[in-house]
Assembly symmetry: C2
Homo-oligomer: 489 residues x 2
C-alpha cells in the first residue's frame, strides 16, 4: 500500500487518503463516512445501515421482478442444515466445511446432531426436492430464496466484500433435461447483466470459471467479473450448472413421459450484497460516495442559502421546486436545517453521494435561476427555475449513463492480451488484468498463482480463435482456451 | 380432541376431518394439502412454500410502505449476539435464555465466546445504538429490520404458529421523551390494524398484556389478539414500550438541547409469519384454504369444460376472458391442463383457496355466459360474459368484505362478560373467551391458569367503568381493571 496522505483541508468529515494511493483505506473511509455500514459486536459481521440497505432493497426488487417473470417462485427454507445432510455431496462439503458455523446447544440442552448455519442452501433444499419431485409434471421446478448466509472466513473483514454473514438470492432450479438446464444460464446471466448495467451502472465480463475456481459441487460456473480501479477484479453474480451432481447425492428423481426414472438436472444462481460494495468502490471518489441516480434513495438535495431578510422567500421557492421535481417522480430532500451552514451541507451530501445538488439563494431568485451541481463530475451550471424539473430529469439520466460509460472505459483499458508470464506480471503491476491462451490445468494455475499472486477469473463464453499449435502462456502444454487472469478480491 | 371422522367421499386429496371436530388435525391438513408449508430435515423448522411465502411478501410490502411513511428506515444487523451482550438486560435474558440456539464452533475452531442466534435483536442493535446516538439531533431514531429469528421451543411444532425459526419485522425506535415514545404506540397499532383488517380481513381486540405476559424487558406490551373458531385466542402484532430499561442496560444516552445527558425512551414492535397461520386458520373451511382476494397470488381460476368438437372455441373465449380480467388488474390462472378433469380441478383450486372460479363450457358459450363460483360461500351464479370483468371485480371486493364481517361476528360472539370463576370456566368450555374485573396480581393469574388452563390475553385500552367496590372475579382482592382471559395458542 502507498503511504497515507493527509488532506486536512477537507476538515474532519473528509476522507484522509486518496483512492489512487490507498484504495483499501479509502474504501473503508467511504463506507463509514457515508454511513453505509458499521462494525458490530460480532467479529467479522457488519451492520448494514439504512442508506446501503435501501439500495439492496432496490436491487432485490429489480431482480425479483425479473425472475418472477421467468417463472421463478420464492420460498423460505430453514437456516439450519443437519451435519449429516450437509456432508452428502463430497465436493460441496469439502468446499464449505472450513467456514461453517455450528450450532451445538439449544437452551441448556446439547443437540443430538450439530446444525450448520447455512453457508448456502443446496443441502437443505434438495432434501425436500427429493420428496416433492416425482414426475415430469413437477418440472421445471424453479425456486429462489432471499436469505442471509454465514461463511466464517478468517481473513480480515471488509464491509460488503468480505463479512461472515451476508445476504443473497439463491435460485435453485431443476429440469428434466441437461439442455433445458443449461439454457437457463443465458436467461439468468442476461437478467443479472440487465440489473447491473441499468441500475448499478456496472459493466462486467462474463465467462466460465476454471476447475479450481468453480463452485463446490458444480459441473461449471459462469461468473460476471467486475473491474475496480485498484487493478483488482471481483466476482459478482454467478450461475452454476450442477448437472446431476446434487440430484444423485440427494436422490432427486422423476419419471419421464415414458415412465423411465431419471435424475433431474440442476442449476443455482446468486447475486449478493457484495455487489453493493463493488458499486460503491467503482463509482466513488476522493470526496466520498458516488451513487447511480436509479439506486439513490435521495436523487436531489436542495440547499437553500439563507439570510435573515430573504429566508422566507427562498424557502418558499425551494419548496416549490421540490414539489415540481417530485411530480416528475424525482426523490428530493430539502435541507433546511438551521444548525449547519451551506458549505458544511455541500460536503455532507457529496460524501453521501446524492447525485444532484441544487443551490438557491436570494441572488439566484432575482435571476429566476438556481445553481445545479452534479456529484459525479462536480460540474456546476445555472438553470432556469421554470425548466428545472425537465432539466434535472435529463441530468439524472445523463449521470446514470456517464457512470456506466466511465466504468466501461476502465474495464476496456484494463484487459491486456498476453502470451507469457513476464507480460502478465507487468500487466498486474500496471493495475491491469490479462487474457491469455491457457492449458486449463489445475497444476499450471497453482504455479501461476504462486508466482504472481493472481488467479484465473473466467474464460470468455465466445472464445477468440487460438493459433494452431498455440502453447499455454505459462507452461509448455498445449493451450486449450483463452482465460482471464488477474489480482482479485 | 374429538374423534377423527373420515370423509372418504372427498377422495384422497380432501381433508379427512372437520374444522369443528378436530381443529388441530384439520389445520395441519389444510397447510399441507394447500401446499403452504412442509416439514424439513430440521426438527421444529418448516419450509414455507411459495403459495404462503408470496402472501408473506405482500404483507411485508404493505407494512413496509406504511412504516416508511412514518419515517422508519430499514437496516440489517448480524444474526449473532455474543453471550455477554445478550445477558445485559436481566429480565430480557431470563425470558429468552431457555430458547436460545448457541453457536460454539466455526470450521474446526472453538469460538472464544458463545454466539446466540438472535431470538430478537434488542441486544445487538442497542449495543450499536449506544455508539450512534449522541445528541437530541440523532433522535428520534426509527429503525426496523425484516429478519429471521430462532426460538428453540420444545413444544410440538405447528406450521406458522410455533416453529423454531420464524420471520418478522422488528421495529426498534428511540425517543427523547417518554411521551413521544408512548405516542408511537397508537401509530404502530393503527398501522398493523389497517393491514390486518384491509388485507388479512381479520378483526382483533387490542389491549395491554398483564405483567406476567408482557415482553421480557418491556415496561408494558400492547397486543392485538385474534379469535379462532376453536375457541382459542392467539396473539398477533405487538407494540412494546420499553421505557428506559434497555437504554440503561445498554447505555444509550443523549445530550438534550440544554446539554443535559439522559437515557433514551424506547419501543419495539413486530408482526410475524404467525399471522399467516392465523389468517389461514380463521378463514378456511372443510374444503381447504380460503384466502382474502387482496392477498391471493391468483384471484381467479378459469376452468374450461373441454370436449373435442368445441375445445378450440371454448379455449379461445377463456383466453379472452382472462385478458379482460387482467386488464382490470385481476390475477388469473387459466387451467387448460389436459391430464385432469374439471371435477379434479375444482377440488384442487378449492383446496388452494382461489377466491373465484369461472367455469366455461360449450353450453355456456351458447348462452353468452359463464358460471362463477365464489370460494368462501360456495355460491354459484351465471354471469354475462360481456360484463364479466366488472362483475368479478365487485365479487372479489365482496368476498374480501364478507370474510372480515364473518370473522368480526365470530369475535363479537366469543367475548363474554363474567365476574366469577364458574362462569369463566363455562365460557371456555363453550369455546369462548371472557372479559372480567380483575385484581391484576401475578399470583391470581397463576392460580387462575392452574384451575382453568386459560391465561390473561389483554386489557382493553379504553376500560369499561368498574363498579364501586368491585372485587376481583377470581380472588377476594379489589378489582383494578377489566381483563380478557381465554385459552390461547
Amino acid at each position: 500500500m502507498a503511504k497515507k496522505e493527509q488532506k486536512k483541508s477537507r476538515g474532519t468529515k473528509g476522507i484522509s487518503v486518496s483512492k489512487e494511493n490507498d484504495f483499501s483505506e479509502w474504501y473503508t473511509q467511504v463506507i463509514q463516512k457515508a454511513d453505509l455500514a458499521d462494525y458490530s459486536a460480532v467479529s467479522g459481521c457488519m451492520v448494514i445501515k439504512p442508506a446501503a440497505w435501501a439500495i439492496w432493497e432496490k436491487i432485490r426488487d429489480q431482480v425479483d421482478e425479473r425472475i418472477k417473470k421467468l417463472g421463478v417462485q420464492n420460498v423460505a427454507f430453514p437456516i439450519f442444515i443437519p451435519e449429516s445432510l450437509l456432508t452428502k455431496e463430497a465436493a460441496h462439503i469439502e468446499g464449505f466445511a472450513p467456514e461453517v458455523a455450528w450450532v451445538t446447544h439449544a437452551g441448556n440442552s446439547k443437540l443430538s446432531e450439530r446444525l450448520a448455519i447455512r453457508p448456502t442452501s443446496e443441502a437443505i433444499m434438495y432434501d425436500s426436492y427429493s420428496k416433492w419431485i416425482r414426475s415430469h409434471n413437477d418440472l421445471p421446478l424453479k425456486y429462489n430464496q432471499w436469505s442471509n448466509v454465514v461463511r466464517w472466513e478468517f481473513k480480515h473483514p471488509t464491509p460488503f466484500f468480505r463479512t461472515r454473514e451476508f445476504y443473497f438470492n439463491e435460485g435453485h432450479t431443476c429440469f428434466a433435461t441437461q439442455k433445458e438446464a443449461e439454457n437457463e444460464g443465458e436467461e439468468i446471466i442476461a437478467m443479472y447483466t440487465d440489473v447491473c448495467e441499468k441500475f448499478l451502472a456496472l459493466p462486467s465480463f462474463v465467462g466460465k470459471k476454471s476447475e479450481k475456481e468453480k463452485f463446490a459441487g458444480a459441473v461449471y460456473s459462469t461468473s460476471m467479473e467486475f473491474m475496480m480501479d485498484n487493478g483488482k477484479a471481483i466476482q459478482g453474480p454467478v450461475f452454476h450448472h450442477d448437472g446431476q451432481n446434487f440430484s444423485k447425492a440427494y436422490d432427486i428423481k422423476f419419471q419421464d413421459v415414458n415412465g423411465k426414472e431419471s435424475y433431474v438436472w440442476q442449476n443455482t444462481w446468486a447475486i449478493s450484497t457484495r455487489m453493493i460494495g463493488v458499486m460503491f468502490a467503482i463509482h466513488s471518489d476522493d470526496k466520498g460516495l458516488v451513487l447511480p441516480p436509479k439506486l439513490a434513495a435521495t436523487q436531489v438535495v436542495i440547499v437553500p442559502i439563507l439570510f435573515e431578510d430573504s429566508k422566507a422567500e427562498v424557502l418558499k421557492k425551494a419548496r416549490e421546486i421540490q414539489k415540481n421535481l417530485e411530480k416528475k417522480g424525482i426523490s428530493v430532500y430539502l435541507d433546511d436545517r438551521d444548525n449547519y451552514n451551506p458549505g458544511w451541507k455541500f460536503n455532507e451530501w457529496e460524501m453521501k453521494g446524492i447525485p444532484v445538488r441544487i443551490e438557491l439563494g436570494p441572488r439566484d431568485l432575482e435571476k429566476h435561476q438556481v445553481m445545479v451541481a452534479r456529484r459525479d463530475t462536480s460540474e456546476k451550471q445555472a438553470l432556469e427555475i421554470t425548466a428545472i424539473a425537465d432539466e434535472v430529469r435529463i441530468l439524472l439520466d445523463d449521470i446514470q449513463k456517464s457512470l456506466f460509460d466511465k466504468a466501461q472505459k476502465i474495464l476496456d483499458k484494463s484487459i491486456l492480451k498476453v502470451d507469457n508470464l513476464k507480460d502478465a506480471k507487468a500487466a498486474f503491476k500496471d493495475k491491469r488484468i490479462v487474457i491469455a491462451p491457457w492449458c486449463s490445468a489445475v497444476e499450471c494455475e497453482d504455479i501461476f498463482k504462486e508466482k504472481t499472486g493472481a488467479k484465473s477469473l473466467n474464460s470468455p463464453l465466445e472464445q477468440p480463435k487460438l493459433k494452431k499449435g498455440q502453447t499455454c502462456s505459462f507452461c509448455k502444454e498445449e493451450a486449450k482456451l483463452w482465460m482471464h487472469f488477474g489480482k482479485s478480491y
